[in-house]
């Protein structure tokens, strides 16, 4: 069953601006992951943050995790038109072979 809830559902910004997407979840997790999906194609893994981490960076991506509030945020800095995609958070258990539980996603549009 779906666990994550992203907001906003849709976000429209201009190139160069920062985009922030939030995700909330309901149960205890071992890790939270963010994925990108372009035009209904396969998902691309962006970044994983473990439950004992609070912040993680990867290039222009910054992810935070607040386990007390059961929430996470994904920040994309200096956005580009190529960042236009749907972004999903997903929760899972490390190394246990369990499937991911996905949120509803945020549709990001970056205009030149």
């Amino acid at each position: 069953s779906q666990q994550g809830e992203e907001d906003p559902q849709a976000l429209s910004i201009q190139e160069g601006e920062n985009a922030t997407m939030n995700c909330s979840y309901k149960t205890s997790i071992n890790n939270l992951q963010w994925y990108r999906q372009n035009s209904g194609r396969g998902l691309v893994h962006l970044i994983l943050i473990r439950s004992n981490e609070r912040e993680k960076h990867s290039g222009r991506l910054r992810v935070t995790l607040d386990t007390s509030k059961k929430s996470s945020s994904l920040l994309i800095t200096a956005s580009r038109a190529a960042d236009t995609a749907s972004y999903f958070c997903a929760t899972g258990s490390v190394g246990s072979g369990y499937a991911l539980n996905f949120g509803k996603g945020t549709s990001l549009l970056v205009t030149p």
Binding site: S1, V94, L100
Partner: protein, 115 residues
């Protein structure tokens, strides 16, 4: 890290027919996961396929409708049987990547339209 080849990438099918989707992984994996993504929606897990045993289905999905095969550690198929327009979705397979670059790898998806 694992690379998945998923076929077909898209298909348009008549109602009442069946479609089999294939996923080939370039390395051996224990679990493979099949998801459905209805138009404009998120991913919903259909079933988990473990080699050598029957797939485990999530609530709302049954083997008669979505039979799954897992003949070896690198391959799996999902069949969408007796299709109706409500089955129009993107279907994706996924595997877990272990090790330093932990995460999940997804196939490129099969966009199914039932007419």
């Amino acid at each position: 890290s694992a690379v998945i080849s998923q076929k077909p990438s898209r298909d348009i099918c008549q109602r009442g027919t069946s479609l089999t989707i294939q996923c080939q992984v370039d390395s051996q994996v224990t679990m493979m996961f099949w998801y459905r993504q209805q138009p404009g929606q998120s991913l919903t897990l259909i079933a988990t396929a473990n080699q050598g045993s029957e797939a485990t289905y999530e609530s709302g999905f049954v083997i008669d409708k979505f039979p799954i095969s897992r003949p070896n550690l690198t391959f799996s198929t999902l069949t969408v049987s007796n299709m109706s327009p409500e089955d129009s979705s993107i279907y994706l397979c996924s595997v877990e990547r272990t090790g330093e670059n932990y995460g999940y790898t997804f196939g490129s998806g099969t966009r199914l339209t039932v007419v």
